[in-house]
Structures are given as structure tokens and as C-alpha cells.
């Protein structure tokens, strides 16, 4: 048990540190990379809670895909830090009020009333049954309707992403391998039968 606690505190320390760096570092690309570190240490913590599937899904989906998207977005936005920092004093009052409100809301939601240790006691360990297995048994039978809705949402996301970002560039050239393979001799070479001419 003691070894598990050491691992827990190590992952938690890395998580708190990197979360702090994410919001304080100036370069947005560095912030995104520290967010990756955040996700990794969170995956470690979830693994300590025996939530195997969630931990692997966090690494697979968030670190593997979402953070790549974040990096592309950060690079695409072309953020000029000097311009962003210009209006700091002007927005300080409004931003401060919003920040205090957000902190208050989070304290009310995450505070002791709903999330205390008395409210949510440590669940009984389920023994040697893999929780990925239990998740699967529930998800594809009892929750099949939300599961199918998820696929429809993903379909909408595909179509929306294509509709929003796909731009044709008429000046660009590309090969079509299918048409290259299909080509016949007749398409390229024309044999002309003609009488031989007399030599002059």
C-alpha cells in the first residue's frame, strides 16, 4: 500500500505542477505540451484507481488525438503574444470579476457539500473482474440507445468539419492513380495508316 501511495503522490505532484505551468507559461505551444503531461499523470492516477479503460482511453484519445488538434489550432491561430498582452490593464477589472465568479461557482460545486469524502465513500473493490469487461456488458446492452446516438453525433462532427474547413484550390495539381492504371494504349498513341509517299 505504501508503494502505491508514493506513486500516487508522485503523479499528483507532476499533475499539479504541469497544470500550473499550462496556465502560466507564455508560449501556447509549451502550454499544450504541458497539457499532454497533465493528461499522462491523470491517466496514471486513474490507473491507480483501477480505472484501466478510462486511463488507456485518456492516453489514446486525448494525448493521441485531441492534443494534436490543439497543437494544430494553436499553430493555425498565429497568436502574437505581444498583441494579446496589450490590453491587460484595460481588461483587468472585467476579467477579475469573471475570475472571482468562476472561482466561487467552482468552490460551490466542487466544495464539501457534494464532493466531500463523507459524501462519496471509497467504493468497494470489485475484485478481479476487469472493469473494461463490466463497462462493455453495460454499454452494448442497457445503454445501446445512447451508444448509437454517439455514433450519430460523430457523423454530424465529420460532416460539420468537412463543411466548415474543406476548401478546393483549383490551382493545385495531383495524380489520380486509378486513372493512371486504367489508361490504354489508344488514349496516348494514335496510329495513322497512310500511304507511303514517293521520294522526291
Amino acid at each position: 500500500m505504501a508503494f502505491e501511495q508514493i506513486v500516487f503522490y508522485a503523479f499528483s505532484a507532476v499533475l499539479v505542477f504541469s497544470a500550473g505551468v499550462v496556465i502560466t507559461v507564455r508560449n501556447p505551444v509549451h502550454a499544450a505540451l504541458f497539457l499532454v503531461l497533465c493528461f499522462f499523470s491523470t491517466a496514471g492516477l486513474w490507473l491507480l484507481l483501477r480505472a484501466e479503460f478510462l486511463a488507456i482511453a485518456l492516453v489514446l484519445v486525448y494525448v493521441g488525438a485531441v492534443m494534436v488538434l490543439f497543437l494544430f489550432v494553436v499553430m493555425m491561430l498565429d497568436i502574437n503574444i505581444a498583441v494579446v498582452r496589450q490590453g491587460f490593464a484595460r481588461y483587468l477589472a472585467v476579467g477579475g470579476v469573471v475570475a472571482i465568479l468562476l472561482i466561487a461557482v467552482m468552490a460551490m460545486v466542487v466544495g464539501g457539500d457534494y464532493f466531500g469524502l463523507e459524501r462519496t465513500p471509497v467504493p468497494e473493490p470489485i475484485g478481479e473482474v476487469s472493469n473494461t469487461r463490466l463497462l462493455g456488458l453495460q454499454l452494448y446492452t442497457d445503454y445501446v440507445y445512447p451508444f448509437e446516438i454517439a455514433s450519430v453525433i460523430l457523423l454530424v462532427a465529420i460532416i460539420a468539419a468537412i463543411a466548415l474547413t474543406l476548401r478546393r484550390r483549383p490551382d493545385s495539381r495531383y495524380q489520380e492513380p486509378g486513372r493512371q492504371v486504367e489508361v490504354r494504349r489508344g488514349d496516348r498513341v494514335r496510329l495513322v495508316s497512310m500511304k507511303s509517299e514517293e521520294r522526291r
Binding site: 462493455g136 452494448y140 446492452t141 465529420i158 468537412i162 474547413t165 495539381r173
Partner: protein, 118 residues
């Protein structure tokens, strides 16, 4: 259960130590004699033409979003593959419907040319 993950933990620790040690040794043992010429940005020997913060083409973003969607699909496949024997034909057809709906999106993006890199 957690003992199955001990090799991964050892791997992480070794990776952090090796990576950190290499950077630390290079920082401690290497010579530090910076001057303005060394610290200034350069581009193959001449002055830099432009800022390194350039805009990326939006189609990288499109590819990343499509990748996320099919990555999520894979995440749904893992628990399904584990319990496939227990949930029977119903679970199998549920997943086939799920995949079928996503295949519609795949055909759409294929036909639309979103996967075409010009």
C-alpha cells in the same frame, strides 16, 4: 491487477531518469560562452526571412478532426471486443449499426475529397 502495470511504471521512471540525466549532463558539463552572434536566430547562414510563427493550412486541422473521430470509434471497439461472447448477437448488431453510421460519414468524406491531399 496493478502489478501488470509495474513494467510501464519502471519504463516511465527509467525514461525520465535517462532523459533528464542527458539534458542535465549536457547543461552542466558543456561550455557556456554565449555571445550575440551565437544567440541570434539564423536561417542557413543568412538573416531570417520571416517570423517562425507562420499560419498553418486549415487542412491539417481537418485531418486532425477526422482522426479524432475515428480514434473515438476505436475506443468504443475495445470493450466491445472483450465482451463480444457474452453480449451475443444483440451487441454485435449494435456495434455493426454504430460502425455503419460512421461508414456513411467515411463514404461522405471520401466522396467529398477531404482525404485528398493536393
Amino acid at each position: 491487477m496493478l502489478e501488470n502495470y509495474l513494467p510501464i511504471l519502471i519504463f516511465i521512471v527509467v525514461g525520465v531518469i535517462v532523459g533528464g540525466a542527458m539534458m542535465a549532463f549536457g547543461f552542466i558539463l558543456g561550455p557556456h560562452r554565449p555571445d550575440t552572434a551565437k544567440l541570434s536566430p539564423y536561417e542557413c547562414g543568412f538573416e531570417a526571412f520571416e517570423d517562425s510563427r507562420m499560419k498553418f493550412d486549415v487542412r491539417f486541422y481537418l485531418v486532425a478532426i477526422l482522426f479524432i473521430i475515428f480514434d473515438l470509434e476505436i475506443a468504443f471497439l475495445f470493450p466491445w471486443a472483450i465482451v463480444l461472447k457474452d453480449i451475443g448477437l444483440f451487441g454485435f448488431s449494435a456495434m455493426m449499426l454504430f460502425l455503419g453510421i460512421l461508414v456513411i460519414g467515411f463514404i461522405y468524406e471520401w466522396k467529398k475529397g477531404a482525404l485528398q491531399w493536393e
